[in-house]
């Protein structure tokens, strides 16, 4: 589904964000991208969403070569992706419900259908009672769950989450991760970056200085060491 083949991302001669990355993520996987700040996690996610393009190598997402994808094709690629950023980027000039409706509106859904599906998405993340609130009146954890609702409202095939729990307390972080796990449970591919070592049975891809150090299931390595 997502295939990196010798992908390098170079911003300048001395600023190489990703270097010769080979990686494959299958449909329905839940993958953590782990590593310190500056390891290239965000760049890797941005490249999957075609926010950044490879300097060299080949990256394919759902069979589409991101390096060759025309700008006119970007919206249709992104409608199959759910993006959750560290900064939620909720629009302050409209309420929670309108924020979640946005991906549906840009896809051409009717306002009735968009509202119905947005309410369902908010319900899934436990935020339906805040539908009429302004985003700035919510806590960080609540804003992040609204961002998740916005990411999943279009029923994407892939969810890309860039450090979604970075600014949250333990309880809120757990709620966010539980929500992501729930979508994974219905077949959605989830790729989540974190600078902490994830305590999980899912696959973890370690990155450092733009290189993939290790790509294996944590539980498998734990079993081997035992």
């Amino acid at each position: 589904m997502i295939e990196f083949q010798r992908v390098t991302k170079r911003y300048s001669a001395h600023n190489i964000a990703l270097s010769d990355v080979n990686l494959s993520i299958a449909k329905g996987e839940f993958v953590f991208l782990a590593g310190p700040s500056g390891a290239g996690k965000s760049t890797l996610l941005k490249m999957i969403a075609a926010i950044e393009r490879p300097s060299s190598g080949t990256l394919t997402v759902n069979g589409q070569d991101i390096g060759k994808l025309k700008s006119s094709g970007l919206p249709y690629l992104r409608r199959n992706l759910g993006l959750i950023l560290q900064q939620q980027r909720l629009l302050a000039d409209r309420n929670v419900l309108a924020n979640v409706m946005l991906p549906l509106v840009v896809s051409g859904a009717t306002s009735q259908d968009a509202e119905k599906r947005a309410r369902a998405a908010l319900d899934k993340v436990g935020m339906l009672d805040k539908a009429g609130d302004e985003p700035l009146s919510l806590s960080g954890g609540e804003q992040q769950r609204v961002a998740i609702a916005r990411a999943i409202v279009n029923r994407p095939q892939v969810i890309l989450a860039d450090e979604p729990t970075a600014n949250l307390d333990r309880a809120n972080a757990k709620k966010v991760l539980d929500a992501l796990q729930a979508f994974h449970g219905v077949g959605v591919t989830c790729i989540v970056s974190t600078h902490d070592e994830p305590d999980t049975a899912n696959r973890v891809i370690h990155l450092e200085r733009g290189r993939v150090l290790e790509s294996a299931a944590v539980h498998a390595s734990l079993e081997e060491s035992a």
């Binding site: 700008s71 919206p75 992104r78 629009l91 000039d93 946005l102 840009v106 051409g108």
Partner: protein, 308 residues
């Protein structure tokens, strides 16, 4: 098709909300654009009123054909057929009147009050002549061709001199042409001003909505979806400014017509400046909206490219 209509509806709603949100800025911009539009609108209104007036003017150039003093009366009389033939080449009704030298002398004595002086001349110094009147010329251009006609008449045998009183016609035609060109130039210049004002207004909108644009792109919005509200904003700004400009010109006609009425009464005329008709007004409103749309188009293309 329904999706496209729905998205246009959404874009129009977004544009309206944006205008209402920043209504003081919108009103100010509308006022600025309206001032720029009002000048050419007023000029056009004036021309539209003057055009039928100039067309209604009875353009009747008179051509005086003077025979040589020694031309016999028979030769002069025989020229009438030739003059009519040449006059027939010009549209309209031509009338030819022969004025014998005796009649001309009598008229001179009667009109000028120089009867005593004329009596001292002894012999009649005036030649036989013809007065050719070209009635019913509706277009100034046609009347202006009279010069060519005069040249032909002058080449007739026995003709000494031909005088044409069409100078004023040419001056009027030239003046109207200058007015039309000036109006065109003014319209083009102020049209550019409108585009620039809308360009800058939309630039500010793009900058203030930068976050929304970026988020919309991340969730799969096409460029067309992002641009449409700005296009509607530009067109609405142009449309509203056009309406204000038309209203201002119509209002300005009231005091102007009072002044014109006083002047026109001196010439026993009821001439008044009328506001532009509904078709012309609709065309100008569409033109204003198009100028606004153009400004928005240039601005969005330029500034969205920078956000990429």
């Amino acid at each position: 098709m329904m999706t496209l209509l729905r998205q246009h509806g959404f874009a129009f709603g977004r544009a309206l909300r944006q205008l209402l949100r920043a209504r003081s800025g919108f009103l100010l911009n509308t006022f600025v654009v309206a001032i720029a539009l009002a000048l050419p609108f007023a000029g056009l209104n004036l021309l539209e009123n003057l055009r039928p007036l100039s067309e209604q003017l009875s353009v009747e150039p008179e051509i005086s054909i003077f025979m040589t003093p020694d031309a016999p009366r028979e030769q002069a009389a025989a020229l009438a057929a030739n003059i009519r033939k040449i006059a027939g080449e010009v549209k309209g009704n031509a009338s030819v009147e022969f004025i014998p030298r005796e009649k001309a002398l009598n008229a001179l004595q009667a009109r000028s009050g120089l009867g005593d002086v004329v009596a001292t001349l002894g012999a009649n110094p005036l030649p036989d002549s013809y007065v050719l009147k070209l009635a019913g010329l509706r277009k100034l251009d046609e009347a202006a061709h009279v010069e060519t006609l005069a040249a032909k008449l002058k080449s007739l045998p026995g003709v000494d001199n031909v005088q044409v009183d069409s100078t004023w016609i040419k001056r009027l035609a030239a003046l109207l042409n200058i007015l039309q060109l000036a109006l065109l130039f003014l319209g083009l210049t102020l049209g550019v001003v409108v585009v620039v004002v809308v360009f800058n207004t939309i630039r500010l909108q793009v900058l203030t909505q930068r976050e929304e644009i970026e988020v919309s792109r991340l969730v799969g919005a096409t460029d067309a979806f992002i641009c449409r509200p700005f296009y509607y904003s530009g067109a609405l700004l142009g449309l509203c400014a056009g309406a204000v400009a038309l209203g201002a010109v119509a209002l300005a006609l009231v005091p102007m017509n009072d002044a014109i009425a006083d002047f026109a009464h001196l010439y026993a005329s009821e001439f008044q400046l009328a506001p532009l008709g509904p078709v012309a007004s609709l065309i100008l409103l569409a033109l204003s909206a198009t100028l606004g749309l153009l400004g928005a188009l240039f601005s969005v293309r330029r500034h969205l490219a920078r956000l990429n």
